[in-house]
């Protein structure tokens, strides 16, 4: 935090990000309009007192939908990064520290997933399992599927970073020293290696969030993310393309929200990286 204050861009990005979280989480309590309600008298409306950002082609309030769409983006991002940190960093740590068979299995598994460019595999998985896992538990299953497929293609990168760093740390003299003093593997991992990985993990997880947000929106655009009555920013954008000649502001709002979110996360990540 203290280091962030010295970097005005990253600090501003952090504030924007916090504001967007507040907007997404607390917004629906302040702007009490049902995001699924279809106001058929106001289809594709321009901004008004009733609908501050207008409505979409079914008369649904865009401000309210923006809030729930942003919630989906943030929830997916948090879930994916949690998985990356626990599983990706965990496997990378194990591969780097123990080497041998563990390293071989983890590295080949990561290589296998790396073979797919970008989110192609995530598109395939969320398309194929959308009708089964995706329909479980009132929208929760869909979020789980989206987060799961993005996490699956995301963890190898984290594992690779952490493995490399662990390999370098393992050879340091103070690790040899504590091993000579009789420290167990667990103690060395917890006391000497984990604390030195903290920064790397935090920075790479933050930098990764921007990609995850865009990926979620891309899945939404393809109709693979949150389903009605929920929505995704990507889905809002693609739906609004259909009537862009009648009301272009409906493409604008979700695009703006998405861009601001992505840029804020990128600047914050860059700021953290420079300071580390």
């Amino acid at each position: 935090m203290r280091r962030l204050k010295k970097n005005p861009v990253a600090f501003a990005a952090l504030i924007v990000l916090a504001a967007m979280c507040v907007f997404a989480v607390l917004g629906p309590w302040l702007h009490r309009v049902d995001p699924a309600l279809q106001d058929v008298d106001n289809l594709r409306a321009f901004p008004s007192a009733l609908h501050p950002l207008g409505t979409d082609d079914r008369g649904r309030d865009t401000l309210a939908r923006l809030m729930i769409g942003l919630r989906v983006s943030l929830l997916v991002a948090v879930a994916v990064e949690a998985f990356n940190v626990v599983v990706g960093a965990g496997l990378g740590l194990a591969a780097g520290y123990f080497g041998g068979a563990v390293d071989f299995v983890v590295s080949r598994l990561a290589d296998m997933l790396f073979a797919f460019p970008g989110i192609l595999l995530a598109i395939l998985i969320s398309a194929v399992f959308g009708s089964s896992i995706g329909t479980l538990g009132d929208g929760a299953g869909r979020l789980l599927l989206v987060s799961g497929s993005l996490a699956l293609v995301g963890w190898p990168l984290m594992a690779r970073y952490v493995r490399g760093q662990t390999l370098a740390l393992r050879e340091r003299p103070w690790i040899d020293g504590s091993r000579a003093l009789g420290a167990s593997d667990v103690a060395i991992l917890l006391r000497h290696i984990l604390p030195n990985l903290g920064n790397l993990v935090i920075v790479s997880a933050t930098l990764d969030v921007a990609g995850v947000v865009v990926s979620e929106a891309t899945l939404g655009l393809l109709g693979l993310s949150a389903q009605p009555p929920q929505t995704s920013l990507g889905k809002m954008i693609v739906e609004a393309f259909g009537y862009i000649t009648l009301n272009w502001t409906q493409v604008f709002w979700p695009s703006l929200a998405l861009s601001v979110l992505v840029l804020a996360v990128s600047f914050l990540g860059d700021g953290l990286r420079e300071k580390v």
Binding site: I123, A217, F241
Partner: protein, 311 residues
């Protein structure tokens, strides 16, 4: 050199195995019963068994996978579930060249724009052009393609409403339909290439041999093109592979936003109708395209940089 090629080929086989195995696995685990879906409400065990056999779904996992691989190697991507009996290739063969042309044009444009922009920025680091282009390139790199598509389309709509010349926002067939999709598809890669060229040029310009060239009186143009650019291009060549990946993933969104009848468009329609073999095949083709491009890139890299060969 021979060892290098051998190692590359080995890793190519591993990558192709991974891609086919994972796409096959996803299709194998896919929920629902495609045969019953094809038969609709009819219940006839005989027809069911025949169809199941025809699609090879009555065989064990390993045999199905082996059959899938040998089919793929012979250009047989399986049969569509939705259009019973129609080969998948039939459905995507019209889309494939469209996507390929669109992608290659976009890649060409991003090279033609990105590399010179990065170079110009590096020549006067921290100058006005450098600052403006750095921010601009960062923007088009980090803002997702479909948002750029949105901005461009909004501009067309406003231009159209004000009776100014405008481009069509969707459709395919006439040359003007190409402009917006190509621009959007090229945007991220252009930003990426420009940023990379800039940093690569800056690094090279600080090298001793550039200073030596300047000291012996070489002109600015000769230093830039003969001494600096040739070395700065090496890292740029290596990212051509990843750039293709950008374009490939971007084409899904772009083709659907602009209604371009490429394979990304076909894939999304297949998603809607749960035609798994089509989605599987599109994934496979796109991944393979990236893999092949990576291989070409690696080969070009070795030719350009003799230091790699001796390693």
């Amino acid at each position: 050199m021979a060892r290098f090629v051998a190692r590359r080929l080995f890793s190519l086989i591993f990558v192709l195995f991974s891609i086919t195995f994972l796409t096959f696995l996803v299709g194998y685990l896919a929920p629902g019963d495609p045969i019953q879906a094809m038969m609709g409400s009819r219940r006839d065990p005989k027809i069911y068994a025949r169809l199941q056999h025809e699609y090879g779904l009555d065989r064990p996992f390993t045999e199905q996978y082996a059959a899938y691989i040998s089919g793929v190697l012979q250009g047989d991507l399986g049969k569509s579930y939705r259009f019973a009996g129609r080969p998948v290739w039939d459905l995507i063969k019209t889309g494939a060249p469209v996507s390929a042309e669109l992608g290659l044009t976009a890649l060409g444009i991003s090279l033609l724009v990105g590399v010179p922009v990065g170079m110009l920025a590096a020549i006067r680091a921290d100058g006005l052009f450098d600052r403006l282009s750095t921010v601009g390139m960062l923007l088009i790199y980090s803002v997702p393609g479909f948002v750029i598509a949105g901005v461009l389309q909004i501009m067309q709509v406003i231009a159209y409403q004000n009776k100014l010349p405008s481009l069509p926002t969707s459709g395919w067939g006439r040359p003007e339909h190409w402009v917006l999709p190509v621009l959007v598809l090229a945007a991220a890669t252009t930003g990426y290439l420009a940023t990379l060229t800039r940093s690569s040029m800056l690094e090279v310009l600080g090298q001793d041999y550039v200073r030596t060239a300047r000291a012996k009186g070489a002109s600015q143009a000769r230093v830039m093109f003969h001494h600096a650019l040739r070395n700065a291009l090496i890292p740029i060549v290596t990212v051509l592979g990843p750039s293709v990946a950008f374009v490939v993933v971007g084409s899904f969104a772009v083709e659907n936003v602009f209604r371009v009848p490429g394979i990304g468009f076909v894939a999304v329609q297949a998603i809607g109708t749960r035609d798994y073999p089509v989605i599987q095949s599109v994934t496979l083709i796109l991944a393979a395209a990236v893999v092949v491009m990576n291989l070409i890139t690696d080969m070009a890299y070795t030719v350009l940089d003799p230091r790699i060969r001796t390693r």
